[in-house]
Symmetry: C2
Subunit: 299 residues, 2 copies
Protein backbone atom coordinates (compact mmCIF):
# COMPACT_ATOMS: atom_id res chain seq x y z
CA UNK A 1 0.00 0.00 0.00
CA UNK A 2 1.13 3.58 -0.51
CA UNK A 3 2.27 6.39 1.75
CA UNK A 4 1.37 10.06 1.54
CA UNK A 5 4.11 12.34 2.87
CA UNK A 6 3.40 16.00 3.59
CA UNK A 7 6.01 18.36 4.94
CA UNK A 8 8.63 20.88 3.97
CA UNK A 9 10.65 20.72 0.77
CA UNK A 10 13.67 22.93 1.17
CA UNK A 11 17.18 23.89 0.26
CA UNK A 12 19.51 23.47 3.24
CA UNK A 13 22.86 25.17 3.68
CA UNK A 14 24.68 23.21 6.34
CA UNK A 15 27.91 23.94 8.14
CA UNK A 16 29.67 21.37 10.32
CA UNK A 17 33.06 21.62 12.03
CA UNK A 18 34.54 19.79 9.03
CA UNK A 19 32.73 21.14 5.96
CA UNK A 20 30.16 23.51 4.52
CA UNK A 21 27.56 22.61 1.90
CA UNK A 22 25.21 25.16 0.37
CA UNK A 23 21.73 24.51 -1.06
CA UNK A 24 21.45 20.77 -0.46
CA UNK A 25 18.13 19.05 -1.04
CA UNK A 26 16.39 19.10 2.34
CA UNK A 27 13.14 19.52 4.22
CA UNK A 28 11.16 17.06 6.30
CA UNK A 29 9.10 15.80 3.35
CA UNK A 30 12.17 15.21 1.14
CA UNK A 31 13.96 13.17 3.80
CA UNK A 32 10.85 11.23 4.82
CA UNK A 33 9.70 10.54 1.25
CA UNK A 34 13.07 9.22 0.10
CA UNK A 35 13.31 7.02 3.23
CA UNK A 36 9.79 5.64 2.72
CA UNK A 37 10.48 5.00 -0.97
CA UNK A 38 12.77 2.07 -0.14
CA UNK A 39 9.73 0.16 1.08
CA UNK A 40 6.52 1.40 -0.55
CA UNK A 41 5.13 3.73 -3.26
CA UNK A 42 5.23 7.33 -2.04
CA UNK A 43 3.20 10.41 -2.94
CA UNK A 44 4.78 13.63 -1.74
CA UNK A 45 2.99 16.91 -1.10
CA UNK A 46 4.97 20.11 -0.72
CA UNK A 47 5.93 23.34 -2.42
CA UNK A 48 9.06 24.59 -4.18
CA UNK A 49 9.94 27.79 -6.04
CA UNK A 50 10.97 28.28 -9.63
CA UNK A 51 14.61 28.22 -8.44
CA UNK A 52 14.32 24.55 -7.35
CA UNK A 53 17.14 22.69 -9.16
CA UNK A 54 16.10 20.19 -11.81
CA UNK A 55 18.63 17.68 -10.42
CA UNK A 56 16.61 17.50 -7.19
CA UNK A 57 13.42 16.82 -9.15
CA UNK A 58 15.34 14.04 -10.87
CA UNK A 59 16.38 12.65 -7.47
CA UNK A 60 12.73 12.46 -6.33
CA UNK A 61 11.88 10.73 -9.62
CA UNK A 62 14.76 8.29 -9.27
CA UNK A 63 13.06 7.20 -6.04
CA UNK A 64 9.73 6.87 -7.92
CA UNK A 65 8.14 9.52 -5.70
CA UNK A 66 4.79 10.61 -7.16
CA UNK A 67 5.01 14.40 -7.57
CA UNK A 68 1.55 15.51 -8.72
CA UNK A 69 1.03 16.99 -5.23
CA UNK A 70 4.26 18.98 -5.33
CA UNK A 71 3.38 22.60 -6.11
CA UNK A 72 5.84 24.68 -8.11
CA UNK A 73 5.19 28.34 -7.34
CA UNK A 74 6.53 31.74 -8.42
CA UNK A 75 9.25 32.77 -5.97
CA UNK A 76 12.03 31.12 -4.04
CA UNK A 77 12.22 27.70 -2.43
CA UNK A 78 12.24 27.60 1.37
CA UNK A 79 15.88 27.97 2.45
CA UNK A 80 17.30 27.00 5.84
CA UNK A 81 20.87 27.41 6.94
CA UNK A 82 22.35 26.05 10.11
CA UNK A 83 25.57 25.18 11.85
CA UNK A 84 26.53 22.18 14.00
CA UNK A 85 28.85 22.28 17.01
CA UNK A 86 31.85 19.99 17.42
CA UNK A 87 30.00 17.02 18.90
CA UNK A 88 27.22 17.27 16.26
CA UNK A 89 24.56 17.15 18.96
CA UNK A 90 23.77 20.86 19.08
CA UNK A 91 22.90 22.98 16.10
CA UNK A 92 21.88 26.57 15.64
CA UNK A 93 19.86 28.14 12.87
CA UNK A 94 21.73 30.84 10.96
CA UNK A 95 18.91 31.88 8.64
CA UNK A 96 15.39 30.85 7.63
CA UNK A 97 13.96 32.23 4.37
CA UNK A 98 10.41 30.93 3.96
CA UNK A 99 10.01 31.95 0.29
CA UNK A 100 7.06 30.19 -1.36
CA UNK A 101 6.43 28.32 1.87
CA UNK A 102 4.89 31.43 3.35
CA UNK A 103 1.68 30.97 1.36
CA UNK A 104 1.71 27.16 1.16
CA UNK A 105 -1.64 25.46 1.36
CA UNK A 106 -1.31 21.69 0.97
CA UNK A 107 -4.30 20.98 -1.26
CA UNK A 108 -4.34 17.33 -2.22
CA UNK A 109 -5.01 16.00 -5.72
CA UNK A 110 -8.11 13.73 -5.74
CA UNK A 111 -5.85 10.73 -6.32
CA UNK A 112 -4.16 11.36 -2.95
CA UNK A 113 -7.21 11.51 -0.71
CA UNK A 114 -7.60 7.76 -0.26
CA UNK A 115 -3.98 7.01 0.62
CA UNK A 116 -4.01 4.54 3.54
CA UNK A 117 -0.76 5.57 5.26
CA UNK A 118 -0.33 9.25 6.09
CA UNK A 119 2.87 10.85 7.29
CA UNK A 120 2.45 14.40 8.53
CA UNK A 121 6.15 15.23 8.59
CA UNK A 122 7.40 18.25 10.53
CA UNK A 123 5.51 21.34 9.34
CA UNK A 124 3.10 23.85 11.00
CA UNK A 125 0.30 21.96 12.79
CA UNK A 126 -2.33 24.09 10.97
CA UNK A 127 -1.07 22.63 7.66
CA UNK A 128 -1.05 19.12 9.12
CA UNK A 129 -4.70 19.68 10.11
CA UNK A 130 -5.51 20.93 6.61
CA UNK A 131 -4.13 17.72 5.10
CA UNK A 132 -6.02 15.48 7.53
CA UNK A 133 -9.26 17.33 6.70
CA UNK A 134 -8.95 16.13 3.09
CA UNK A 135 -8.07 12.49 3.83
CA UNK A 136 -10.73 9.78 3.63
CA UNK A 137 -10.50 6.70 5.91
CA UNK A 138 -6.77 6.51 6.46
CA UNK A 139 -5.42 3.27 7.90
CA UNK A 140 -2.65 4.86 9.98
CA UNK A 141 -1.71 8.48 10.56
CA UNK A 142 1.65 9.49 12.00
CA UNK A 143 2.60 13.05 12.89
CA UNK A 144 6.06 14.40 13.62
CA UNK A 145 6.75 17.86 15.03
CA UNK A 146 9.48 20.13 16.38
CA UNK A 147 10.11 22.42 19.37
CA UNK A 148 9.12 25.51 17.33
CA UNK A 149 5.45 24.38 17.10
CA UNK A 150 5.32 23.49 20.79
CA UNK A 151 6.48 27.04 21.46
CA UNK A 152 4.38 29.03 18.98
CA UNK A 153 1.42 26.83 17.93
CA UNK A 154 0.66 24.69 20.98
CA UNK A 155 -3.11 24.88 20.75
CA UNK A 156 -3.11 23.72 17.09
CA UNK A 157 -0.61 21.02 17.94
CA UNK A 158 -2.64 19.65 20.87
CA UNK A 159 -5.71 19.39 18.62
CA UNK A 160 -3.61 17.59 16.03
CA UNK A 161 -2.20 15.08 18.54
CA UNK A 162 -5.80 14.02 19.29
CA UNK A 163 -6.35 13.16 15.63
CA UNK A 164 -3.37 10.90 14.93
CA UNK A 165 -2.62 7.24 15.59
CA UNK A 166 1.05 7.79 16.35
CA UNK A 167 2.83 10.91 17.52
CA UNK A 168 6.60 11.22 17.13
CA UNK A 169 8.91 13.70 18.87
CA UNK A 170 12.39 13.79 20.34
CA UNK A 171 13.28 13.61 24.02
CA UNK A 172 13.85 17.33 24.53
CA UNK A 173 10.56 18.10 22.75
CA UNK A 174 8.78 15.55 24.95
CA UNK A 175 10.16 17.33 27.99
CA UNK A 176 9.13 20.73 26.60
CA UNK A 177 5.61 19.49 25.82
CA UNK A 178 4.97 17.71 29.13
CA UNK A 179 7.30 19.48 31.55
CA UNK A 180 8.50 16.02 32.61
CA UNK A 181 12.14 14.97 32.80
CA UNK A 182 11.23 11.32 33.25
CA UNK A 183 10.51 9.56 29.96
CA UNK A 184 7.83 7.21 31.36
CA UNK A 185 5.93 10.09 32.92
CA UNK A 186 6.24 12.10 29.68
CA UNK A 187 4.91 9.14 27.66
CA UNK A 188 1.89 8.81 29.95
CA UNK A 189 1.08 12.49 29.60
CA UNK A 190 1.31 12.35 25.81
CA UNK A 191 -0.96 9.27 25.64
CA UNK A 192 -3.52 11.26 27.61
CA UNK A 193 -3.50 13.80 24.75
CA UNK A 194 -4.89 11.13 22.45
CA UNK A 195 -2.59 8.88 20.43
CA UNK A 196 -2.43 5.10 20.88
CA UNK A 197 1.25 5.12 19.96
CA UNK A 198 3.94 7.56 21.09
CA UNK A 199 7.48 7.34 19.78
CA UNK A 200 10.25 9.33 21.45
CA UNK A 201 13.44 9.74 19.40
CA UNK A 202 16.67 9.79 21.43
CA UNK A 203 19.26 10.41 18.72
CA UNK A 204 22.30 8.13 19.08
CA UNK A 205 20.50 6.35 21.95
CA UNK A 206 17.74 5.09 19.66
CA UNK A 207 14.06 5.50 20.37
CA UNK A 208 11.30 4.29 22.63
CA UNK A 209 7.82 3.25 21.54
CA UNK A 210 4.88 3.20 23.90
CA UNK A 211 1.71 1.48 22.74
CA UNK A 212 -1.07 -0.92 23.71
CA UNK A 213 1.39 -3.77 24.23
CA UNK A 214 3.82 -1.81 26.40
CA UNK A 215 7.23 -0.35 25.77
CA UNK A 216 9.70 -1.12 23.01
CA UNK A 217 13.25 0.11 23.51
CA UNK A 218 14.90 0.41 20.08
CA UNK A 219 18.60 0.92 19.45
CA UNK A 220 20.11 3.37 17.00
CA UNK A 221 22.54 1.86 14.52
CA UNK A 222 25.96 2.81 15.92
CA UNK A 223 27.98 4.94 13.51
CA UNK A 224 31.70 5.48 13.38
CA UNK A 225 31.29 8.83 11.67
CA UNK A 226 28.39 11.28 11.75
CA UNK A 227 28.76 13.68 8.84
CA UNK A 228 25.45 15.56 9.09
CA UNK A 229 22.47 14.52 11.21
CA UNK A 230 20.05 16.93 9.48
CA UNK A 231 16.93 15.03 8.45
CA UNK A 232 17.73 11.88 10.46
CA UNK A 233 14.47 12.17 12.40
CA UNK A 234 12.47 12.63 9.19
CA UNK A 235 14.30 9.73 7.61
CA UNK A 236 13.51 7.59 10.68
CA UNK A 237 9.78 8.26 10.53
CA UNK A 238 9.72 7.92 6.73
CA UNK A 239 11.43 4.52 6.82
CA UNK A 240 9.14 3.47 9.64
CA UNK A 241 5.91 4.31 7.79
CA UNK A 242 7.20 2.98 4.47
CA UNK A 243 7.91 -0.36 6.13
CA UNK A 244 4.46 -0.41 7.78
CA UNK A 245 2.73 0.32 4.46
CA UNK A 246 4.49 -2.62 2.82
CA UNK A 247 4.18 -5.12 5.66
CA UNK A 248 1.40 -7.70 5.91
CA UNK A 249 -0.59 -8.02 9.14
CA UNK A 250 -1.60 -5.66 11.90
CA UNK A 251 0.06 -2.37 12.82
CA UNK A 252 0.56 -3.75 16.33
CA UNK A 253 2.42 -6.76 14.97
CA UNK A 254 4.63 -4.77 12.58
CA UNK A 255 5.39 -1.55 14.42
CA UNK A 256 8.50 -2.74 16.27
CA UNK A 257 10.16 -3.99 13.11
CA UNK A 258 9.04 -0.79 11.39
CA UNK A 259 10.92 1.24 14.00
CA UNK A 260 14.07 -0.84 13.48
CA UNK A 261 13.79 -0.26 9.72
CA UNK A 262 13.35 3.47 10.34
CA UNK A 263 16.41 3.39 12.58
CA UNK A 264 18.53 1.61 9.97
CA UNK A 265 17.37 3.94 7.19
CA UNK A 266 18.12 7.08 9.20
CA UNK A 267 21.63 5.85 10.01
CA UNK A 268 22.57 6.34 6.34
CA UNK A 269 21.15 9.86 6.43
CA UNK A 270 23.72 10.80 9.10
CA UNK A 271 26.60 9.49 7.00
CA UNK A 272 26.40 12.16 4.30
CA UNK A 273 25.38 15.78 3.88
CA UNK A 274 21.67 16.26 3.27
CA UNK A 275 20.36 13.33 1.24
CA UNK A 276 23.64 12.48 -0.50
CA UNK A 277 24.21 9.17 1.29
CA UNK A 278 20.55 8.14 1.57
CA UNK A 279 20.06 8.52 -2.17
CA UNK A 280 23.03 6.22 -2.86
CA UNK A 281 21.83 3.15 -0.98
CA UNK A 282 19.54 0.25 -1.86
CA UNK A 283 16.98 -1.69 0.20
CA UNK A 284 19.63 -4.41 0.64
CA UNK A 285 21.89 -1.96 2.49
CA UNK A 286 19.03 -1.22 4.90
CA UNK A 287 18.31 -4.93 5.38
CA UNK A 288 21.97 -5.53 6.22
CA UNK A 289 21.87 -2.96 9.01
CA UNK A 290 18.55 -4.35 10.29
CA UNK A 291 20.19 -7.78 10.46
CA UNK A 292 23.17 -6.30 12.32
CA UNK A 293 20.87 -4.52 14.78
CA UNK A 294 19.11 -7.81 15.37
CA UNK A 295 22.46 -9.36 16.36
CA UNK A 296 23.36 -6.36 18.52
CA UNK A 297 20.33 -6.61 20.81
CA UNK A 298 20.01 -10.40 21.15
CA UNK A 299 20.69 -11.94 24.53
CA UNK B 1 31.50 -20.33 41.75
CA UNK B 2 32.31 -17.41 43.97
CA UNK B 3 33.10 -13.76 43.43
CA UNK B 4 35.72 -11.63 45.15
CA UNK B 5 34.75 -7.97 45.38
CA UNK B 6 37.34 -5.36 46.32
CA UNK B 7 36.53 -1.68 46.56
CA UNK B 8 35.48 1.05 48.91
CA UNK B 9 33.26 0.54 51.94
CA UNK B 10 31.90 3.88 52.99
CA UNK B 11 29.29 5.98 54.70
CA UNK B 12 27.51 8.23 52.19
CA UNK B 13 25.61 11.40 53.03
CA UNK B 14 23.43 12.11 50.04
CA UNK B 15 21.32 15.12 49.21
CA UNK B 16 18.80 15.14 46.36
CA UNK B 17 16.30 17.85 45.43
CA UNK B 18 13.68 15.94 47.43
CA UNK B 19 15.50 14.58 50.49
CA UNK B 20 18.68 14.32 52.51
CA UNK B 21 20.06 11.14 54.06
CA UNK B 22 23.17 11.08 56.25
CA UNK B 23 25.59 8.17 56.75
CA UNK B 24 23.98 5.59 54.49
CA UNK B 25 25.82 2.35 53.77
CA UNK B 26 27.78 3.03 50.58
CA UNK B 27 31.00 2.51 48.68
CA UNK B 28 31.69 0.65 45.47
CA UNK B 29 32.38 -2.68 47.22
CA UNK B 30 29.19 -2.52 49.30
CA UNK B 31 26.98 -1.88 46.28
CA UNK B 32 28.75 -4.43 44.08
CA UNK B 33 28.88 -7.13 46.75
CA UNK B 34 25.19 -6.87 47.62
CA UNK B 35 24.28 -6.94 43.91
CA UNK B 36 26.48 -9.99 43.25
CA UNK B 37 25.08 -11.78 46.30
CA UNK B 38 21.72 -12.35 44.56
CA UNK B 39 23.49 -14.75 42.19
CA UNK B 40 26.63 -16.24 43.75
CA UNK B 41 28.62 -16.49 47.01
CA UNK B 42 30.57 -13.26 47.59
CA UNK B 43 33.75 -12.48 49.50
CA UNK B 44 34.22 -8.77 50.12
CA UNK B 45 37.52 -7.02 50.79
CA UNK B 46 37.56 -3.49 52.19
CA UNK B 47 38.18 -1.43 55.29
CA UNK B 48 35.92 0.28 57.82
CA UNK B 49 36.57 2.22 61.03
CA UNK B 50 35.44 1.50 64.55
CA UNK B 51 32.50 3.85 63.97
CA UNK B 52 31.00 1.54 61.32
CA UNK B 53 27.43 0.81 62.44
CA UNK B 54 26.65 -2.74 63.49
CA UNK B 55 23.41 -2.63 61.48
CA UNK B 56 25.46 -2.35 58.29
CA UNK B 57 27.55 -5.38 59.26
CA UNK B 58 24.26 -7.18 59.78
CA UNK B 59 23.13 -6.11 56.29
CA UNK B 60 26.26 -7.62 54.72
CA UNK B 61 25.65 -10.80 56.70
CA UNK B 62 22.00 -10.93 55.69
CA UNK B 63 23.32 -11.13 52.11
CA UNK B 64 25.71 -13.93 53.16
CA UNK B 65 28.72 -11.83 52.20
CA UNK B 66 31.92 -13.42 53.51
CA UNK B 67 33.63 -10.74 55.64
CA UNK B 68 36.97 -12.24 56.68
CA UNK B 69 38.65 -9.85 54.22
CA UNK B 70 36.94 -6.78 55.66
CA UNK B 71 39.44 -4.96 57.85
CA UNK B 72 38.16 -3.08 60.90
CA UNK B 73 40.70 -0.40 61.80
CA UNK B 74 41.16 2.27 64.47
CA UNK B 75 39.72 5.52 63.13
CA UNK B 76 36.80 6.65 61.08
CA UNK B 77 35.08 4.98 58.13
CA UNK B 78 35.52 6.64 54.73
CA UNK B 79 32.80 9.27 54.45
CA UNK B 80 31.56 10.83 51.21
CA UNK B 81 28.90 13.47 50.90
CA UNK B 82 27.37 14.69 47.67
CA UNK B 83 24.45 16.51 46.18
CA UNK B 84 22.38 15.78 43.06
CA UNK B 85 20.87 18.41 40.78
CA UNK B 86 17.21 18.48 39.79
CA UNK B 87 17.43 16.05 36.88
CA UNK B 88 19.56 13.58 38.94
CA UNK B 89 22.14 13.35 36.15
CA UNK B 90 24.73 15.70 37.63
CA UNK B 91 26.16 15.44 41.10
CA UNK B 92 28.80 17.32 42.99
CA UNK B 93 30.93 16.16 45.86
CA UNK B 94 30.48 18.23 49.02
CA UNK B 95 33.09 16.48 51.15
CA UNK B 96 35.41 13.46 51.12
CA UNK B 97 36.86 12.26 54.41
CA UNK B 98 39.15 9.30 53.73
CA UNK B 99 39.50 8.16 57.35
CA UNK B 100 40.88 4.62 57.64
CA UNK B 101 40.88 4.39 53.84
CA UNK B 102 44.00 6.55 53.75
CA UNK B 103 46.21 3.66 54.85
CA UNK B 104 44.18 0.81 53.30
CA UNK B 105 46.17 -2.07 51.90
CA UNK B 106 43.90 -4.82 50.58
CA UNK B 107 45.76 -7.89 51.81
CA UNK B 108 43.79 -11.00 50.99
CA UNK B 109 43.19 -13.90 53.39
CA UNK B 110 44.65 -17.15 51.97
CA UNK B 111 41.11 -18.44 51.40
CA UNK B 112 40.45 -15.58 48.94
CA UNK B 113 43.43 -16.02 46.63
CA UNK B 114 41.88 -18.74 44.47
CA UNK B 115 38.55 -17.03 43.86
CA UNK B 116 37.70 -17.50 40.16
CA UNK B 117 35.72 -14.30 39.54
CA UNK B 118 37.38 -11.04 40.53
CA UNK B 119 35.65 -7.68 40.64
CA UNK B 120 38.00 -4.76 41.11
CA UNK B 121 35.31 -2.22 41.94
CA UNK B 122 36.07 1.49 41.77
CA UNK B 123 39.11 2.23 43.96
CA UNK B 124 42.64 3.57 43.33
CA UNK B 125 44.30 1.57 40.51
CA UNK B 126 47.35 0.93 42.73
CA UNK B 127 45.10 -0.98 45.14
CA UNK B 128 43.47 -2.85 42.27
CA UNK B 129 46.99 -3.88 41.16
CA UNK B 130 47.83 -4.97 44.71
CA UNK B 131 44.82 -7.29 44.75
CA UNK B 132 45.58 -8.78 41.34
CA UNK B 133 49.17 -9.48 42.47
CA UNK B 134 47.79 -11.83 45.14
CA UNK B 135 45.29 -13.69 42.96
CA UNK B 136 46.10 -17.13 41.54
CA UNK B 137 44.64 -18.19 38.18
CA UNK B 138 41.46 -16.18 38.10
CA UNK B 139 38.84 -17.19 35.54
CA UNK B 140 37.59 -13.66 34.80
CA UNK B 141 38.75 -10.28 36.07
CA UNK B 142 36.61 -7.16 35.72
CA UNK B 143 37.76 -3.67 36.68
CA UNK B 144 35.62 -0.59 37.12
CA UNK B 145 37.01 2.92 37.53
CA UNK B 146 36.05 6.60 37.75
CA UNK B 147 37.12 9.94 36.25
CA UNK B 148 39.27 10.74 39.31
CA UNK B 149 41.75 7.94 38.50
CA UNK B 150 41.92 8.90 34.83
CA UNK B 151 42.86 12.38 36.02
CA UNK B 152 45.31 11.61 38.82
CA UNK B 153 46.54 8.02 38.34
CA UNK B 154 46.50 7.46 34.58
CA UNK B 155 49.76 5.55 34.35
CA UNK B 156 48.67 3.04 37.05
CA UNK B 157 45.27 2.76 35.41
CA UNK B 158 46.69 2.05 31.95
CA UNK B 159 48.84 -0.75 33.39
CA UNK B 160 45.78 -2.14 35.15
CA UNK B 161 43.64 -2.11 31.99
CA UNK B 162 46.24 -4.40 30.35
CA UNK B 163 45.77 -6.97 33.12
CA UNK B 164 41.98 -7.38 33.10
CA UNK B 165 39.54 -9.35 30.95
CA UNK B 166 36.83 -6.72 31.04
CA UNK B 167 37.08 -3.01 31.67
CA UNK B 168 34.00 -1.02 32.66
CA UNK B 169 33.56 2.75 32.57
CA UNK B 170 30.86 5.27 31.78
CA UNK B 171 30.50 7.27 28.59
CA UNK B 172 32.02 10.50 29.89
CA UNK B 173 34.95 8.57 31.36
CA UNK B 174 35.45 6.78 28.03
CA UNK B 175 35.61 10.18 26.36
CA UNK B 176 38.03 11.48 28.98
CA UNK B 177 40.28 8.43 28.62
CA UNK B 178 40.35 8.30 24.81
CA UNK B 179 39.61 11.88 23.79
CA UNK B 180 36.95 10.46 21.46
CA UNK B 181 33.35 11.66 21.31
CA UNK B 182 32.33 8.74 19.13
CA UNK B 183 31.57 5.61 21.14
CA UNK B 184 32.81 3.15 18.48
CA UNK B 185 36.13 4.97 18.16
CA UNK B 186 36.45 5.13 21.95
CA UNK B 187 35.78 1.37 22.21
CA UNK B 188 38.48 0.62 19.63
CA UNK B 189 41.03 2.72 21.49
CA UNK B 190 40.23 1.01 24.81
CA UNK B 191 40.55 -2.46 23.26
CA UNK B 192 44.00 -1.44 22.08
CA UNK B 193 44.90 -0.88 25.74
CA UNK B 194 44.39 -4.58 26.37
CA UNK B 195 41.01 -5.95 27.44
CA UNK B 196 38.99 -8.42 25.35
CA UNK B 197 35.77 -6.93 26.67
CA UNK B 198 34.90 -3.27 27.16
CA UNK B 199 31.61 -2.19 28.69
CA UNK B 200 30.51 1.43 28.51
CA UNK B 201 27.75 2.44 30.90
CA UNK B 202 25.33 5.06 29.60
CA UNK B 203 23.06 5.62 32.61
CA UNK B 204 19.39 5.70 31.67
CA UNK B 205 20.38 4.78 28.10
CA UNK B 206 21.76 1.39 29.17
CA UNK B 207 25.18 0.12 28.22
CA UNK B 208 27.20 -1.15 25.32
CA UNK B 209 29.45 -4.20 25.33
CA UNK B 210 32.23 -4.67 22.82
CA UNK B 211 33.88 -8.08 22.63
CA UNK B 212 35.14 -10.82 20.31
CA UNK B 213 31.64 -11.38 18.90
CA UNK B 214 30.89 -7.73 18.21
CA UNK B 215 28.68 -5.20 19.90
CA UNK B 216 25.83 -5.75 22.30
CA UNK B 217 23.51 -2.79 22.90
CA UNK B 218 21.82 -3.28 26.28
CA UNK B 219 18.86 -1.29 27.56
CA UNK B 220 18.51 0.15 31.05
CA UNK B 221 15.35 -0.82 32.88
CA UNK B 222 13.14 2.27 32.54
CA UNK B 223 12.19 3.77 35.88
CA UNK B 224 9.30 6.02 36.75
CA UNK B 225 11.15 7.47 39.72
CA UNK B 226 14.87 7.80 40.35
CA UNK B 227 15.40 8.41 44.06
CA UNK B 228 19.20 8.18 44.27
CA UNK B 229 21.49 6.86 41.52
CA UNK B 230 24.54 6.58 43.81
CA UNK B 231 26.05 3.11 43.44
CA UNK B 232 24.02 2.15 40.35
CA UNK B 233 27.20 1.57 38.32
CA UNK B 234 28.70 -0.58 41.09
CA UNK B 235 25.44 -2.47 41.41
CA UNK B 236 25.41 -3.05 37.64
CA UNK B 237 28.90 -4.53 37.55
CA UNK B 238 28.26 -6.55 40.74
CA UNK B 239 25.08 -8.10 39.36
CA UNK B 240 26.86 -8.76 36.09
CA UNK B 241 29.76 -10.65 37.65
CA UNK B 242 27.54 -12.46 40.14
CA UNK B 243 25.45 -13.77 37.26
CA UNK B 244 28.57 -14.84 35.32
CA UNK B 245 29.96 -16.69 38.34
CA UNK B 246 26.74 -18.68 38.70
CA UNK B 247 26.09 -19.37 34.99
CA UNK B 248 27.13 -22.57 33.23
CA UNK B 249 29.08 -22.34 29.99
CA UNK B 250 31.54 -19.89 28.49
CA UNK B 251 31.95 -16.24 29.40
CA UNK B 252 31.29 -15.38 25.75
CA UNK B 253 27.99 -17.23 25.84
CA UNK B 254 26.83 -15.73 29.14
CA UNK B 255 28.08 -12.16 29.08
CA UNK B 256 25.08 -10.59 27.34
CA UNK B 257 22.61 -12.09 29.78
CA UNK B 258 24.97 -11.12 32.59
CA UNK B 259 24.78 -7.49 31.49
CA UNK B 260 20.99 -7.62 31.42
CA UNK B 261 21.00 -9.05 34.95
CA UNK B 262 23.36 -6.27 36.03
CA UNK B 263 21.04 -3.74 34.44
CA UNK B 264 17.98 -5.12 36.22
CA UNK B 265 19.79 -5.29 39.57
CA UNK B 266 21.05 -1.71 39.33
CA UNK B 267 17.55 -0.43 38.54
CA UNK B 268 16.52 -1.25 42.11
CA UNK B 269 19.54 0.61 43.43
CA UNK B 270 18.21 3.83 41.87
CA UNK B 271 14.81 3.42 43.50
CA UNK B 272 16.00 4.03 47.05
CA UNK B 273 18.66 5.95 48.93
CA UNK B 274 21.96 4.10 49.21
CA UNK B 275 21.28 0.38 49.48
CA UNK B 276 17.83 0.67 51.07
CA UNK B 277 15.88 -0.64 48.08
CA UNK B 278 18.49 -3.14 46.85
CA UNK B 279 18.59 -4.83 50.26
CA UNK B 280 14.80 -5.29 50.22
CA UNK B 281 14.50 -7.27 47.00
CA UNK B 282 14.82 -10.97 46.16
CA UNK B 283 16.26 -12.77 43.12
CA UNK B 284 12.69 -13.17 41.85
CA UNK B 285 12.28 -9.38 41.64
CA UNK B 286 15.41 -9.23 39.47
CA UNK B 287 14.18 -12.09 37.26
CA UNK B 288 10.88 -10.25 36.74
CA UNK B 289 12.68 -7.18 35.44
CA UNK B 290 14.94 -9.30 33.24
CA UNK B 291 11.80 -10.87 31.74
CA UNK B 292 10.31 -7.41 31.19
CA UNK B 293 13.49 -6.19 29.53
CA UNK B 294 13.35 -9.23 27.26
CA UNK B 295 9.86 -8.17 26.15
CA UNK B 296 10.95 -4.55 25.72
CA UNK B 297 13.68 -5.25 23.18
CA UNK B 298 12.03 -8.02 21.13
CA UNK B 299 11.13 -7.26 17.55
Amino acid sequence: MSVLVVGSTALDSIKTPKAENPRLLGGSASHAAVAASFFAPVKMVGIVGKDFPKRYMDLYRKHKIELSGLQIAEGKTFHWSGEYETNMNNRRTLATELGVFETFSPNLPESHKNTPYILLANIAPSLQHHVLDQIKNPRFVVADTMDLWINIALSDLLKLIKRVDAFVLNDSEAKLLTNEDNILKALKKIHRLGPDYVIIKRGEHGSILSGPSGLFIAPAYPLQRVVDPTGAGDSFVGGLLGYLAAAKGSIEKNLRRAIIHGSATSSFCCEGFGLTQTTKITPVDIQNRVAQLEQMVKF
